[in-house]
């Protein structure tokens, strides 16, 4: 995955747009750093590419209009620590990542336990063969599993 600044585009735009790779255990520390600099958490998302998670936490500087994204690569069974103690509103993004992608995030401040969207299928944005993989800290998921998914995995 190319992780470069996008200065190639004919720039008439102020503010940089960078993606910085970090390790999963450095996330909380980096978040504190961002908070000290006065940056605002703009968004957090993840995607499933090349059999691993690509998690992005983006921070925006409202004065210089810079945009810094912390990029974490994680395995399916990995556990990420939530930054919602530092940025309380990160809770929504993390709940969404958990519900849509089955990403294991612990210590979320306001935890919806997979009931943010109340989707019937577990981790709908993951490919089907990945959904039932057991995680190290299996969290109790209150949404019922769709019977079809279970049948397919049994095959």
């Amino acid at each position: 995955m190319p992780e470069e600044t996008n200065e190639k585009k004919a720039v008439r735009q102020t503010g940089s747009n960078t993606i910085v790779p970090v390790k999963a255990d450095e996330l909380v520390e980096k978040a504190v750093e961002m908070k000290k600099k006065g940056l605002r958490l703009s968004q957090a998302c993840c995607s499933w590419v090349n059999n691993q998670y690509e998690i992005s936490y983006s921070f925006a500087d409202d004065q210089t209009l810079d945009y810094i994204t912390l990029r974490i690569l994680a395995e399916r069974t990995a556990t990420i620590s939530s930054i919602s103690e530092i940025y309380p509103y990160a809770a929504f993004y993390e709940n969404e990542m958990e519900e849509l992608f089955g990403l294991n995030i612990r210590y979320i401040d306001l935890d919806y336990h997979n009931r943010l969207y109340r989707i019937k299928t577990k981790a709908p944005f993951l490919p089907e063969d990945q959904r039932e993989v057991a995680t190290d800290e299996t969290k109790k998921i209150s949404a019922p599993d769709a019977p079809e998914t279970q049948k397919e995995d049994a095959n």
């Binding site: 735009q13 605002r40 703009s42 968004q43």
Partner: protein
């Protein structure tokens, strides 16, 4: 300590434009806490990205929401153009600005109508929407659609604005500006409106920053942050200044949105002045996106982020849309603490909720 009760607000409620559920813990008409519950319009639109050609996926993104539809399309094509390094021709950039600003006007006029309705002033609601009809007529004339325009494509735009249309737009905008000034005088000067808006839901500058507010919500608290200052599309040539207020209450947010309507009218006029008289409408786009890009644009509701990731296939691997209301929901819960129950509709409306965008 008074009697506590939990009042469910939504998802069906006559005052809400879209379904959202709030559990309001109320103590004698004062709200102690608000717990939001969303998920009523979740359609999983982001999950369609790997299933569609990236050019066709634009139509899905545009239909995330009816009000902010042009902004969504714009952000999406910007993110793809960022990955593929496409240089959009100058005239197309100015046309995009014109349509984006007119879409902003319709959105704010609609918001003014909803707010008037929320505090029981129906005639003002009808007046705002009557003016909005005029703008919608202009949109229909130039793009063929009133809410969902489909004039964008990766690399440029699909339609042009002829000199006749341009003249009509500028003439109508003069009329619209005059009528809007009169109507907004009621919002800003009427006594009964002021009792409902002034001092309601105050968000200080520090609070707005801590809670991650964006858009008019943050600008009304004094944070001068507007994505249009980044100068995407043609905004860098138009001398844009963000509209800011200081008080942070609902009245200030109303003021900010009203002034943004006038700022948009001015931007459209300047865009028409600076626009090159002739030019290509789009650049040719060959190949498939390979890379990733974060595009940020200013929707009527705030900062919207579009992230696209592709690996050389015609379908994207991941598309992520972070809409401003998703960020402002936390700000809503913050303003609801300690508010009176009578203010709840006003407070929900001051963040300009677009729940379809929030949940995609």
């Amino acid at each position: 300590m008074g009697k506590r009760s939990v009042i469910p607000f939504g998802p069906q409620h006559p005052v809400l434009p879209e379904p959202i559920h709030l559990d309001l813990v109320v103590e004698d008409e004062k709200i102690v806490e608000a717990i939001p519950n969303i998920g009523f319009i979740h359609r999983g639109l982001e999950g369609l990205a790997p299933d569609r050609d990236f050019q066709k996926y634009l139509y899905v993104v545009e239909r995330t929401c009816g009000i902010c539809s042009f902004g969504h399309g714009l952000g999406y094509v910007e993110s793809i153009e960022g990955i593929m390094n496409v240089e959009v021709p100058e005239r197309a950039r100015y046309l995009r600005v014109v349509w984006a600003e007119m879409a902003r006007m319709t959105s704010h006029l609609m918001w003014l109508g909803f707010t008037a309705d929320a505090f029981g002033f129906e005639s003002l609601f009808y007046e705002a929407w009557r003016i909005r009809e005029k703008v919608l007529d202009l949109m229909e004339m130039t793009t063929g659609g009133r809410l969902i325009y489909s004039v964008l494509k990766v690399g440029g735009v699909l339609k042009d604005i002829t000199p006749d249309m341009q003249k009509k737009i500028l003439d109508d905008l003069n009329e619209i500006e005059k009528e809007t000034r009169e109507m907004t005088k009621t919002f800003l000067d009427d006594y009964s409106v002021q009792t409902r808006l002034k001092g309601v839901g105050v968000l200080t500058k520090q609070q707005a920053h801590d809670v991650g507010a964006c858009g008019p919500m943050a600008r009304a608290s004094g944070i001068a942050c507007d994505m249009r200052m980044r100068g995407y599309e043609a905004y860098s040539d138009l001398g844009f200044e963000p509209v800011v207020a200081q008080d942070g209450d609902s009245y200030a947010r109303c003021e900010v949105r009203i002034n943004e309507i006038f700022a948009s009218i001015e931007l459209v006029r300047r865009a028409f002045e600076h626009m090159p008289k002739e030019g290509d409408l789009s650049a040719t786009v060959k190949g498939n996106p390979n890379g990733e890009y974060f595009a940020r644009i200013e929707q009527p509701r705030g900062e919207a982020i579009f992230y696209s990731e592709g690996h050389g296939k015609p379908n994207l691997d991941r598309f992520r849309l972070r809409t401003p209301t998703f960020a402002n929901l936390q700000a809503l819960c913050e303003t609801l603490k300690g508010a009176e129950y009578a203010d709840v509709p006003i407070l929900i409306l001051t963040i300009d909720p677009c729940i379809s965008c929030t949940e995609r």
